[in-house]
């Protein structure tokens, strides 16, 4: 079986004028990127907008891209910066508006929960837990949240998260640790602990990536 081209090879092919290569890249990364943004923002509409913008920026920057870094790092750097922008803007608006939510206000959870029809065949327990988890995740400080999502969901190694967020690797790991412990605490406060989730059959099967 021929080996799949790497992201970097695909981008190079796109630079040479092959739009099909870009399509492959897009198909490969759209869901992980979108998921990253949904987790970060807790809002599917915003996540979709930022994901589109991220890919458009990739299109635009593709010619100038030099083969020094992983494509994925570039992709998530853009997305992450757009997130930072977005939250800055939101914070500003909240400060402007008296009847807005508090500084760490709950984003509308309904939007972060995928409809059943999008999510067939997944464990009911998992579907039940996800909104709670998402809520707990959104309560984490943004810098912990991004490390958590990048590592857990996007599978970006700590070293690359450090490059991507511009802090050193030890800081990244320390944020990761706080994120995990913070989540666990929040979940325990919501009555969710290992015993309750234990009968969730898929949990360990999905750890494969780590």
């Amino acid at each position: 079986m021929p080996q799949e081209p790497t992201d970097e090879e695909l981008l190079a092919a796109y630079q040479q004028g092959d739009p099909g290569a870009f399509e492959t890249l897009l198909r490969r990364h759209r869901a992980p990127l979108f998921t990253f943004l949904v987790r970060m923002l807790g809002d599917r509409t915003k996540a979709e907008d930022l994901a589109q913008e991220t890919f458009l920026r990739i299109v635009k920057g593709a010619q100038a891209w030099e083969r020094r870094a992983r494509f994925q790092t570039w992709l998530f750097t853009i997305a992450r910066n757009l997130c930072v922008d977005q939250s800055r803007r939101d914070r500003f608006r909240r400060a402007e508006s008296l009847d807005a939510q508090g500084p760490e206000g709950d984003p509308p959870m309904a939007e972060s929960v995928p409809g059943r029809e999008i999510d067939p065949g997944r464990g009911a327990e998992s579907a039940r837990l996800r909104p709670l988890l998402q809520k707990a995740l959104l309560e984490l400080p943004a810098e912990q949240r991004e490390v958590f999502v990048l590592r857990e969901q996007a599978g970006v190694p700590f070293r690359e998260i450090a490059e991507l967020t511009g802090v050193n690797e030890n800081t990244v790991k320390s944020r990761m640790r706080y994120a995990l412990l913070g989540l666990r605490k929040a979940l325990a406060a919501a009555g969710i602990s290992e015993e309750l989730a234990a009968d969730e059959p898929e949990t360990d099967a999905r750890l494969g990536r780590a």
Partner: protein, 429 residues
């Protein structure tokens, strides 16, 4: 392993980022340290509990569409849309009273109403490095005319034929602008509105001024032309419209940017624009046209060839006669390039340097070719054409990887504008 070391590595361990040796060391410490064991268990429990978050969410249907559209447009633009290579023009737009001042096939169209009696426009168009100038101008005019649909008054038998490649970055840029705008709107709390309505790929017809800016297609990301030039372009807009109102409309001029073929644009408009051609001037023009046509022919054939140098013969009208007969030697082009550069005519200089690079390459002088490319990068950077500068620099790096000094010079020229935004991982090693 100390307790502190172990604590530091527990996260790595949980994510499998330790090599076997380190992992074994941590495990060994764990067997004797209840605190670390508890911490490890807590981390792992958190991971298991949060597993549902790892499930991928699919973006809604239609998500790809606009991105792919932009990607295709950009690829097409980058690889077929080398404007400077694609243009063929015969005839002229002189009678519109427009001066194709400092127009370059690779850059934004800047034109202004001619103030001189002498038909300098021809010289300038030639100076612009290619006939794209005249082409682009005529195109603008034709679209303007098309929009106006004035009564046809008089048609002369001068033809013009123009080909300009489609405007790719328009698609990307408009999509991006749109995305940004939507983000603004979303942020403002209007997120109930449908988010993913794909906008038209090409913005609805905009003011002709917009067309002037967008036509050359290559310039989008970039710093726009210097302020003075833009103002001139704006003024020119008025001039265009004014003239267009009285001019005959080429009936077949399409409104797209792709191909405009028209007939008899120039006739009555000379009168309409109130400019008169003196006999010597006309002779000069005709000469220039002849020279230009012969020089432009090969370029026109290479419709989708990668960017080679624009026809150097277009450099200066007084060189044209010679140029049409025998292609100028590399040294001659270099001299012209230098001259243009000293006159701060950077765009022209860049295009000449690129020609010279091609000529040097043919002569087998790779080092000189590389330096010419480096100079082209410098000139493009000086003109604010950073996208093109980058492209030429890539060309330089690709063709002459061993010419490190020239490459370094090109890199230096770009220092101020790099890393580009968004920085494609410029922080990376």
């Amino acid at each position: 392993m100390t307790h502190a070391e172990s604590q530091d590595l527990l996260v790595d361990l949980a994510y499998g980022e330790l090599d076997a040796r380190r992992a074994a060391e941590v495990e060994e410490h764990l067997s004797g340290c209840a605190e670390c064991r508890a911490e490890k268990a807590a981390l792992e429990e958190a991971r298991r509990l949060s597993a549902p978050l790892r499930e991928l969410e699919e973006p809604p249907a239609g998500f790809d569409e606009r991105i792919l559209q932009a990607a295709r447009a950009e690829a097409h633009h980058q690889h077929d849309g080398n404007v400077g290579q694609v243009i063929e023009v015969t005839g002229n737009v002189r009678p519109l009273g427009l001066e194709a001042a400092r127009i370059d096939a690779h850059g934004p169209v800047k034109a202004r109403a001619s103030e001189r009696k002498r038909p300098r426009w021809m010289v300038r168009a030639a100076l612009g490095g290619s006939v794209a100038a005249a082409a682009a101008l005529a195109l603008v005019v034709s679209t303007t005319l098309d929009a106006r649909r004035p009564a046809q008054t008089q048609v002369r038998n001068e033809d013009y034929r123009i080909r300009v490649k489609p405007a790719a970055p328009e698609a990307v840029d408009s999509a991006l602008r749109d995305a940004e705008a939507r983000r603004e709107v979303d942020g403002a709390g209007a997120k109930e509105q449908p988010a993913a309505v794909p906008p038209p790929a090409v913005p609805a017809p905009v003011a002709q001024k917009k067309k002037l800016e967008l036509l050359p297609q290559r310039t989008t990301a970039e710093k726009l032309p210097a302020k003075g030039e833009r103002e001139r372009a704006d003024k020119n807009d008025g001039a265009l419209d004014a003239v267009a109102g009285e001019a005959p409309a080429p009936s077949a001029a399409p409104r797209s940017n792709v191909v405009a073929v028209g007939k008899g644009l120039s006739g009555g408009m000379a009168a309409a624009s109130g400019k008169e051609r003196t006999a010597p001037a006309q002779a000069q023009e005709e000469q220039a046209v002849a020279a230009r046509q012969s020089a432009a022919a090969p370029a026109a054939q290479a419709l989708s060839a990668p960017a080679a140098a624009p026809p150097a013969a277009l450099a200066e009208s007084r060189e044209m006669k010679a140029a049409a007969a025998t292609p100028p030697k590399a040294a001659g082009i270099e001299a012209s390039a230098q001259q243009a550069r000293h006159a701060a005519n950077y765009v022209l200089a860049a295009s000449l340097y690129r020609s010279a690079a091609g000529a040097r390459q043919e002569e087998g002088d790779a080092a000189a070719a590389a330096w010419n490319l480096a100079h082209a990068v410098e000139c493009l950077a000086a003109a604010g054409r950073f996208d093109e500068a980058r492209q030429v620099r890539e060309e330089l790096t690709r063709l002459h990887p061993s010419e490190t000094t020239a490459i370094a010079a090109a890199r230096r020229a770009m220092r101020e504008v790099e890393p580009p935004d968004p920085a494609p991982a410029d922080k990376q090693k």
